[in-house]
Amino acid sequence: MKMNLKKVAMGLGLSIALVACSKDEGTEVVVPVSAITVKDLAADTVTGLGLDGRPQSALTTTYYSLVDNKVIASTDAASTKWDIAFSSTKILINGGTSGPGIGGAFVYVGLFDALKTIPADSNFATDNSNAASYAIPLGSGKAWYTYDGLTTLVSPIAGRVLVIRTATGKYAKIEIISYYKGGVTLPATASVNDKLFKQRYYTFRYAYQPNGSKTF
């Protein structure tokens, strides 16, 4: 498995700078955090095509720590070491029925950069696998992607930001860029083989605020 983690900021603390806000009276101080891009994170990749015509896979889940910007072993699934997990198009948040954390999430409609502060009235949902209800809702057109039955492609929806409360109660925002290996959604004309085997590789960018505030 090829994983290419581009660490824009090594020590997150170092990258945090205090910058005076240019807005209005200029007395407010914001703490900007740098965006980190994660490339080609494999999430239950396809191993073959079943007799029923469905893609086959090992039904694995890839756990990820937004705090440490790394993959967490599935043996630590029952810990608060991970914040978010991926399994094909399903995204889990460490909280509720998915994990022991206090994580939650909601889908913000707007631009990643424009989301400077999480609105105070935001409602963070938690995973409840018993009711098939997830903080990041499952399905095409529900949260972060659309699925086109004709091209059989999964395309991230433009203008969707996943706002995350981490396992330990800090905040992060995520924009999903691609579901295909290489970081770009395949063209409609891509081969059936490419569509099958290059899917389930997440490329996303995120910003994590370690100080516990809702401001990025």
Partner: protein
């Protein structure tokens, strides 16, 4: 090589005999020398030069010389018309989908649409007299579906010779055979026509990813009788029957699940009309017409895991109608009409394929034509349709013709057209077990069905849309057309047309809730607003007795008004090249999918007095959006487009004095193929045909 054989045959045929003479044909629209008769524009016979709305006439000679076999073949070479390819071959008129153009045969509508598309390959062109295309809303005369325009295929029992036989053979083992007979006495005319068409050709089925070459067999027959009971009364009977067998080899892919199936599809289409026409006086005539048609499609498939799949659609339509034409004075003429329709559909996609869903319509229309001067004609008309299953519709229309001088004339029309909700939008009861068990329920019963499921504890969520479900309203279009015809000189003519259609109440499928399992539930709601606008330029020039050129260009802009409003309000996003979201700008919006900004066709003709003819036709269509690739549900430059393309077709032939004629042709000479977006366009194909027409006694 097979193809080499065809080329040789084609060349041999070109060497053949030496005469062409057929005078029975009506003239083309652009033929400046004569004035042909149009019936579709006013439902009365009018000379083309007196018509107030945009009309295109395609005559039998053009159809024959182009080597067109099916209705699609000739329509795709017309200005402002584009072929669409989902659910059979449909026609898009001035940017509006196939749902919005009514297809008539001798004034009576064809039924049997799949997802709104009527497959025009069903219609054989062997014995027709002409095709009339009226652009602009024409619901004031024809009711539902006549929103973008009307295509009327006209046959005539008085046409033809005692015996005509024709045979054509082409690429993919395409064999087309015709037999036409005619009997004529002083008071009685009969024309019979039989066509058989077989091909190994291409086929596309809903959601199919693999465009497999599938064998098709089509048989059709038409029988027409015209009987003059007296000098003032006649009786006309038309019947048409087609039977299609399609071999299916389908791979349906849905949510990553591919289901391979094999099987057969059988489509039967029967139309019968009878009319009794009586002229009371020079100024008053009336016509009583009855019409019945049945479309019956059965698809029997066996999936690869042995599960049978059966899909049935049976649509019938019965109508009785009276139309009375009254000439009040030399300058004022009126048409009155009224009728009733009984229409029903049985489908395996409704709750029960044994139960027929029914809609009855009663309607009345009138049209007044006033000629205040030689230069000016004004026509006003309106129609009212009352339906049992959905809201009633009122369709007014005003049009005028101003003849400035023999060179210049102007037409202006404004009207409202409508399309009634179709049976699928009212009654669909379909759950796709293969693809996540989502369901679609027709609007007429969605609330009852969902309430029943809710009582069984199967419903998870109901969306706000659920509470908006109510009786569907028809979709409405307001259309405006302005045409300038200019006869430049005896050998050249051109016309310019501006058009705009504003559509509201578009019926779209919307999610109304979810099952407990999370699977989606859809129904239909009137929500969309859209427009299509642009211009068309057509021209013709006769170089000399033998050579002529004609062509047409359409510029088209379309858009979804709600999407444009959303873009303007800054709530529509798109992706940049890095995959980051950003706000979408209005100038990135490309309008409705499947619409092309430019369409151009040019045709070069050669006709010799000795009967040789040759034509070369080039058709260009610019790119069109096919898929939304960046998840914003709005089509912009970042989405998936089908490339613009050119096809070049050519045919040549000759007719002998003794009634024999031969033809050879090549379609798609440059072998343009786009299997994903143009499944109805096979690569380069060759054909050759021979026809014999028994010469009539001159008496």
């Amino acid at each position: 090589m097979k193809t080499t054989r065809y080329i040789i045959l084609f060349l041999v045929l070109l060497q053949g005999g030496n005469l062409f003479a057929q005078s029975r044909f009506v003239k083309d629209t652009l033929d400046v020398s004569t004035d042909s008769v149009v019936v579709t524009a006013t439902r009365t016979e009018r000379k083309l030069s007196n018509i107030t709305v945009p009309v295109t006439i395609i005559n039998a000679k053009t159809i024959q010389q182009n080597g067109s076999l099916r209705l699609t073949d000739i329509l795709k070479e017309q200005t402002g018309l584009n072929l669409t390819s989902g659910f059979g071959a449909g026609i898009q008129l001035q940017g509006l989908n196939p749902d919005y153009t009514i297809i008539l045969i001798n004034g009576e509508p064809l039924v049997g649409r799949t997802a709104g598309v009527l497959d025009l390959n069903r219609i054989a062109l062997g014995n027709i007299k002409k095709i009339e295309i009226v652009k602009g809303p024409s619901s004031s005369l024809y009711g539902s579906e006549a929103m973008a325009g009307v295509i009327n295929i006209i046959t005539d029992a008085t046409m033809g010779s005692p015996l005509t036989i024709g045979l054509r053979y082409g690429t993919y083992n395409t064999v087309d055979a015709n037999l036409e007979t005619k009997l004529q006495t002083k008071n009685f005319q009969y024309q019979g026509f039989v066509n058989s068409y077989q091909t190994d050709g291409y086929s596309i089925r809903p959601n199919s990813n693999s465009r497999v070459r599938t064998p098709i067999e089509r048989y059709s027959t038409t029988q027409q009788i015209k009987w003059d009971l007296s000098s003032k009364t006649n009786f006309v009977l038309n019947t048409r029957y087609t039977n299609e067998q399609i071999q299916n080899e389908i791979a349906v892919e849905n949510n990553g699940v591919t289901i391979y199936s094999i099987g057969k599809e059988n489509i039967k289409d029967l139309n019968a009309s009878a009319s009794l026409n009586h002229r009371f006086s020079k100024n008053l005539k009336t016509s009583l017409r009855t019409y019945t048609t049945t479309y019956d499609a059965v698809q029997n498939l066996l999936t690869i895991n042995g599960l049978p799949y059966r899909d049935v659609l049976n649509h019938n339509f019965k109508r009785i109608e009276n139309q009375t034409d009254w000439e009040l004075s030399k300058n004022l003429q009126a048409v009155f009409g009224a009728g009733a329709v009984w229409e029903g559909v049985k489908s395996s996609r409704y709750d029960s394929e044994k139960l027929r869903k029914q809609n009855d319509i009663q309607y009345a229309f009138t049209q007044w034509e006033w000629k205040p001067s030689e230069k000016l004609t004004l026509i006003g008309g309106a129609r009212f349709d009352q339906n049992t299953q959905f809201a009633s519709a009122y369709s007014p229309k005003l049009s005028m013709l101003y003849k400035l001088n023999p060179q210049h004339q102007f037409r202006f029309s404004i009207g409202q057209g409508f399309k009634a909700p179709d049976f699928r939008q009212l009654f669909l009861d379909f759950t796709n077990a293969a693809a996540g068990s989502y369901s679609v329920f027709g609007a007429a019963q969605a609330q009852q069905v969902i309430a029943r499921l809710d009582a069984l504890g199967q419903i998870g969520n109901l969306f706000p849309n659920y509470y908006l479900l109510k009786a569907l309203k028809p979709e409405y279009s307001n259309g405006m057309h302005f045409t300038w015809d200019w006869k430049i000189n005896p050998s050249s003519a051109m016309s310019v047309q501006l058009f705009r259609n504003d559509i509201k109440n578009l019926i779209e499928s919307q999610q109304v809730g979810t099952y407990i399992s999370g699977a989606q539930i859809f129904s239909y709601i009137n929500i969309g607003r859209a427009f299509t606008t642009g211009f068309e330029v057509e021209g013709q020039h006769q170089f000399n007795a033998n050579w002529s050129i004609n062509g047409g260009y359409q510029y088209l802009q379309t858009g979804d008004k709600d999407q444009i409003a959303a873009i303007k309000s800054g709530t529509v996003y798109t992706k940049n090249s890095q995959g980051y979201s950003r706000l979408m700008k209005l100038n990135e919006y490309v309008g409705l999918p499947n619409t092309s900004t430019h369409k151009l066709q040019v045709k070069l003709n050669y006709n010799s007095p000795k009967g040789y003819y040759l034509n070369l036709r080039a058709i260009y269509r610019s790119r069109w959006a096919v898929n939304n690739n960046n998840g914003n549900e709005v089509f912009d430059n970042g989405d998936v487009f089908a490339s613009g393309y050119v096809t070049i077709n050519s045919a040549a032939g000759k007719s002998f004095k003794n009634g024999l004629s031969i033809q050879g042709g090549i379609d798609n000479i440059s072998n343009y193929i786009d299997a994903a977006n143009l499944p109805n366009l096979p690569g380069r194909t060759f054909y050759t045909s021979i026809k014999y027409q028994l010469q009539q006694n001159k008496n």
